[in-house]
Point group: C2
Chain length 206, copies 2
């Protein structure tokens, strides 16, 4: 229960792993490139386990912290090794010119990934509306989650709270479409309206 | 320059008209039902003009404050009467079961409306990410805008600032897709995560 597995070794993987280690969880870092996993593990306060790519992850919560273009292949590589896991999809399926989403109309990256995981696994959309560098350094942030399974959603909510984030349930997994649009909008606001990449969306409770 | 025209007489029309009148603009209220326009005008501090439905609006900025399902018909009724106008589309094209958007994949309500207006008119997406009752009573709020024409966008930005809102440019009109997703997400957060309809999204500038 107290181990969180993170597949990936980029900026978002590092930001999430950093907060997770600080919150007192055991972190398992997994990468197709073991050297990259080791580099990330060495950066973490208290160190981390290194997981074998493709083997059953140690954590019940598995964070898929890879680019959207790689996500389906990673999930296929794992196959039945993800049985019963809660899989957090953090991806932003954004076109290379950053003007739109590459997902099919009426779907989302999270829903597409959900089609590829074992039936006993649960996909939860989270973290995609936060920039990694903001997540790494800003303590209090709002985090939005979408998922179909209530228990998986509750467990991810608890996880986010322990990271110091304020979770907001947006609805079922189909609402990942709105979260992925918000990911694109965050970039749009950073480039156009805010003139800064040090931004985050918060909910104002009136 | 100092007159704002509002087509519509519902809750959002009233909220926008109220802030606009308080900001010192002359408000022109227009409805297919003149009695409804008169009722709204009577509520406004300092009163308002009543415009004739389908005639050339008095304002250079025309706020299309009608449901998405009616917007195309209203724009068609106006036809050339909207020549050269800045048309603010505030609609949320949400399905009746509030689980998704009714717009074609890869498009937005704003882009669909833009196909129907005269070539000399400019469509700006704004106001759709704010609940009317929040807009009516909360002074400081963030407002997001998307549009292709820089001059139209700048003028709407100035208008929003005069209403006490903090405008954020999200990008071109195709980014209205993200704003309409945010409108749906706002409802999702209100129903699921926040347990309150008194919410708004703000940008945290770190």
């Amino acid at each position: 229960m107290n181990t969180i597995s993170i597949i990936g070794s980029g900026g978002m993987a590092a930001a999430i792993a950093g907060r997770t280690a600080k919150a007192g969880y055991t972190v398992e870092v997994i990468s197709r490139d073991p050297a990259k996993a080791q580099t990330l593990a060495d950066q973490l306060a208290g160190g981390a386990m290194i997981g074998e790519y493709g083997a059953v992850p140690a954590g019940n919560i598995v964070i898929l912290a890879v680019p959207y273009a790689s996500a389906a292949r990673v999930v296929a590589d794992y196959g039945k090794a993800l049985d019963g896991k809660i899989i957090i999809d953090i991806s932003n399926p954004i076109s290379s010119d950053v003007t739109g989403l590459v997902t099919p109309g009426g779907s989302s990256g999270a829903q597409e990934i959900a089609k590829c995981v074992p039936a006993s696994a649960h996909v939860v959309k989270a973290f995609n509306t936060l920039f990694g560098h903001v997540l790494a350094r800003t303590v209090a942030l709002d985090a939005f989650i979408a998922a179909d399974d209530p228990q998986a959603k509750a467990r991810v909510s608890t996880f986010l709270e322990r990271l110091g984030l304020r979770p907001f349930d947006v609805g079922g997994l189909q609402m990942a479409q709105t979260l992925e649009a918000l990911g694109l909008m965050l970039i749009g606001v950073a480039k156009n309206g805010a003139g800064s990449w040090n931004i985050a969306f918060n909910v104002d409770l009136g």
